[in-house]
């Protein structure tokens, strides 16, 4: 299925959950936050959050800034 992850097209098998996607993007989940379709998903809910065709996922962390 096709998703958008951090603004880029992303391919995932049917039945994929959020936890696996986050682990693929960030080695250490500390300091990471995730939103799916504009809503924050708490880290505790990542394993149980199924992803679907067309989902927009944002995976962010702290960066230098003013």
């Amino acid at each position: 299925m096709h998703l958008s992850v951090n603004g880029r097209p992303h391919e995932l098998p049917e039945g994929a959950v959020l936890n696996g996607l986050v682990a693929a993007l960030a080695a250490d989940p500390r300091g990471i936050a995730v939103a799916v379709n504009g809503s924050v998903v708490h880290a505790a809910d990542w394993p149980a959050t199924a992803l679907y065709e067309g989902d927009r996922v944002e995976v962010v962390t702290a960066h230098q800034g003013g």
Partner: protein, 251 residues
């Protein structure tokens, strides 16, 4: 100065533009800031991922910002993500009107501030030098107001000192000068005008020697705060001798 009951040093530092984590460490040590700001960005777009680990090892408070957000909705989501990622409900709320001027969009700012206060955030909004807007931000529950001295990154100092004084007089929450500072004398001036803290980013991070500049800013902010408390003399039209006129030689 205090925010939400917490005592903070009056120099706040932005980390944007520092070239290495080692420089981050040395700048924080030299500036002894009350807090440092960070932005929230997509993981694939970030460089070294251990900024947070570096800052937490230094024991300095981290304030996430919503820099670059162009609307209330985007800023609220960024603040929610920051709370999740950093475990803090403090946020420097920045909603800009366009990417050229980086000036605050106060209509969107007020809407975002009200929403975030309602969701339990401690909101520190980057705003204009307009006392009416400052009062409205306080009315919706902001914990401080952060008026700009001049545009972000411009280094032009405090373009109109009177606006900062009027914001100071308009609100009873802390006032933090945010944006425009280029050099320590301007940071001292902000404190002399009645600000409770000064947030400096570019002026330190892009200085030729950021570590020495961080120290200079710390000293300037301290000097300005002391001067505010000491009470400056009134300005006079004419000279007034400080040495006695009586007893001069040859008179």
């Amino acid at each position: 100065m205090q925010i939400a009951g917490e005592e903070l040093a009056p120099l706040w530092l932005g980390t944007g533009g520092l070239t290495s984590l080692e420089t981050v460490r040395r700048v924080v040590a030299a500036g002894a800031p009350g807090l440092v700001t960070v932005s929230l960005r997509r993981v694939s777009d970030t460089g070294d991922g251990s900024l947070l680990a570096t800052l937490s090892a230094l024991g300095v408070r981290v304030l996430p910002n919503t820099a670059g957000c162009l609307g209330a909705r985007e800023a609220v989501l960024t603040a929610e993500l920051a709370r999740e990622a950093l475990g803090t409900d403090w946020v420097k709320l920045e909603v800009i009107g366009d990417e050229h001027s980086l000036l605050p969009d106060v209509v969107e700012l007020l809407e975002a501030a009200e929403t975030l206060v309602g969701r339990g955030f401690t909101v520190l909004p980057y705003t204009t030098g307009d006392p009416v807007v400052a009062r409205r931000l306080v009315d919706v529950g902001c914990a401080a107001v952060m008026p700009l001295g001049s545009p972000i990154g411009s280094g032009r100092g405090i373009a109109d000192p009177h606006t900062i004084e009027t914001v100071r007089a308009a609100v009873d929450v802390p006032v933090v000068l945010d944006a425009g500072i280029g050099t320590p004398s301007e940071a001292a001036q902000a404190m002399e005008l009645g600000c409770d803290a000064v947030l400096v980013a570019t002026a330190v991070t892009r200085a030729e020697d950021p570590v020495v500049m961080a120290r200079a800013m710390r000293l300037a902010v301290e000097a300005g705060g002391l001067a505010r408390g000491a009470g400056r003399i009134p300005r006079r039209e004419s000279a007034r001798a400080s040495s006695p006129m009586r007893g001069r030689v040859g008179r």
